[in-house]
Amino acid sequence: MRKVYVREEVCIGCRLCEVYCQLKHARSKDLVKAFKRESPPPLARIRVDEKGVVSLSVRCQQCDDAPCVQACLTGALERNPESRLVNVDEDRCIGCWTCLLVCPLAAIKPDTEQKRALKCDLCQGEEIPVCVANCPNEALVYVEV
């Protein structure tokens, strides 16, 4: 399957990937509305970690043998056998956060307001995930692995 990877060498921590992720997962597809008026506010499923000059755009890597799928108490986290994508069934997720505890990348975003786990879905319906498509520095790559 294709996955998104960060090239740390050229990631400058501009966080545009977060912005586009947030917009992509907003109900209103309008930047200003999404950020200023939408309630509950849309949340990015990716995160930029920074320390000094190191910045890393981090998201779910759709692990084989994903620890989150194994740990999920309700079965809400499941792997789609065709796409290999790890999905959260939002109806079954109760926001217990067990998945957060086992993820080595801390790639699951807790939506504490709606009590459900959010994660990168590689922008279903888009040819290229929006974080990759909109990275001004080509620091994100979408590659077949």
């Binding site: 060498e9 067990t98 957060l100 505890l101």
Partner: protein, 448 residues
């Protein structure tokens, strides 16, 4: 006597461990006969969701652990609502209480734990419940529906099950007192400080918490119904119902005196194999490797049951797989307080180093010895806890960056480059062919 077919894979227990094993077996062997026996009459459901069943009436279909067609799709024969009476390990057969005899080639014991109910006076009265199965939740629901007016409950035991029952009862309008023997609630999974955050939330919701005491007896009305409890100091608390939530103990009855090596639970090796050839165990009944303590321990938590079951299933189906180990790990979300903990939560002596940070409902704590993380408690801000848990699981020496672990801005970039690269890098073999070479910036750009 005509003997039924010999089942290739027989699993006793239809919860996280049993399902983990069944899925692993089917990943290897699509056709070999596979049967799951369970004394519960339901398809696998998410046990932690029984509190949602009680609090909001969430039906079985909405708490299923796997889709309704799971068993059919995976060609799993189910014997639900039937109990194993005894196992004959030398003959490789077992008898069900319904009278059937089943022969098996490989057996997995995923029988789980049963709630501990101490032999106190009044324990069999009408209105005394436990809270570990869907039937327990249904029984409480039925009881509440039959009663009029304000109902008062005493929950014995302030652990995870007790707090979960308390939250559900509160949502049903029941007034709740928790009686906890130790000095603070949730004492096996949280340190005093994190538990205090939870206690404040509970008290704020109107729960009366009594610590440092035990229930000496449950008092009866003339009708044989619960009408109160008496504490060890003689105090009485009137109530209409009692939930006994002291803990669970491995269900060892099927292996007692049968040659299967046990301690607190059934002892298994890293392949989840018991001392009897062809017999495996996992989940709450098993005593499996704990990577924090470096020895076998009973860690009755859902994720370890699933993962242990998966390892057992792979080995049962003929693959070689090793259990990397589990440790006590818990995620709490009760009363809006989010807490994650794993491993040790309180250092056993002062040879351990504790690094912590706190403020405004946020609490982060890591316990370190010999440079390695042995325990963690994260409350309020839990987003990065997974990074810490995996450093602990992988036995990474964190001495050089330990202070960063509890910092506000902690993230993958706070770790040594070698570690974050290993977690984020494109798998090496594919890299060269797919990714165009990165044009690296100049070594340094210095203003003239």
């Amino acid at each position: 006597m005509a003997r039924a077919e010999k089942i290739k894979y027989l699993i006793i227990g239809n919860s996280a461990g049993g399902i983990g094993a069944a899925e692993a077996i089917r990943g290897v062997d699509k056709a070999g006969t596979l049967t799951i026996v369970s004394d519960e009459p339901y398809p696998a459901y998410s046990r932690p969701l029984i509190s949602e069943h009680l609090s909001e009436g969430r039906p079985l279909e909405k708490i299923l652990y796997r889709p309704a067609d799971f068993y059919d799709k995976n060609k799993i024969k189910t014997l639900f609502g039937d109990k194993v009476a005894q196992i004959n390990f030398s003959e490789r057969t077992l008898e069900l209480e319904s009278g059937r005899t089943i022969a098996w080639q490989k057996l997995l014991l995923a029988t789980g734990g049963s709630p501990i109910v101490p032999g106190m006076e009044g324990k069999d009265l009408k209105g005394v419940f436990t809270f570990t199965t869907l039937d327990d939740a249904k029984a409480i629901d039925k009881f509440l529906k039959q009663r009029q007016g304000k109902i008062k409950a005493v929950v014995i035991g302030g652990g995870l099950i007790g707090v979960s029952a308390t939250e559900a009862l509160l949502k049903r309008g029941v007034e709740v007192s928790i009686v906890e023997m130790k000095d603070w609630i949730l004492n096996t999974i949280l340190d005093e400080e994190a538990a205090a955050l939870e206690a404040v939330a509970l008290s704020g919701a109107g729960v009366d918490i009594i610590t440092g005491h035990t229930v000496a007896r449950i008092n009866s009305s003339l009708l044989g119904e619960v009408n109160g409890i008496s504490l060890d100091d003689g105090r009485s608390i009137p109530c209409d119902m009692v939930v006994v939530a002291i803990g669970v103990t491995p269900r060892l009855d099927l292996v007692a005196g049968n040659g299967v090596k046990t301690n607190r639970g059934i002892i298994v090796d890293r392949r989840m194999a018991t001392s009897v050839p062809g017999v495996y165990a996992c989940g709450d009944v098993a005593e499996a490797y704990d990577f924090v303590y470096g020895e076998n321990r009973v860690t009755p938590v859902w994720p370890n049951a699933y993962t242990g079951g998966r390892v057992a299933g792979l080995n049962i189906a003929g693959k070689k797989a090793e259990y990397g180990g589990g440790t006590a790990m818990n995620a709490l979300k009760y009363f809006g307080v989010n807490i994650l903990s794993a491993g040790m939560v309180t250092p056993p002596d002062d040879s351990y180093e504790v690094i912590s940070q706190r403020g405004d409902g946020i609490y982060r704590k890591v316990i370190i010895k010999g440079g390695e993380i042995l325990g963690m408690v994260f409350a309020g801000d839990i987003e990065k806890a997974g990074i810490i848990y995996n450093l602990m699981k992988d036995g990474v020496n964190v001495a050089a960056f330990k202070e960063a672990l509890v910092a506000d801005d902690f993230g993958l970039a706070s770790l040594p480059e070698k570690i974050w690269r290993a977690r984020l890098e494109i798998p090496a073999s594919e890299e060269a062919s797919i990714v165009p070479p990165v044009e690296l910036p100049e070594e340094a750009v210095i203003d003239e």
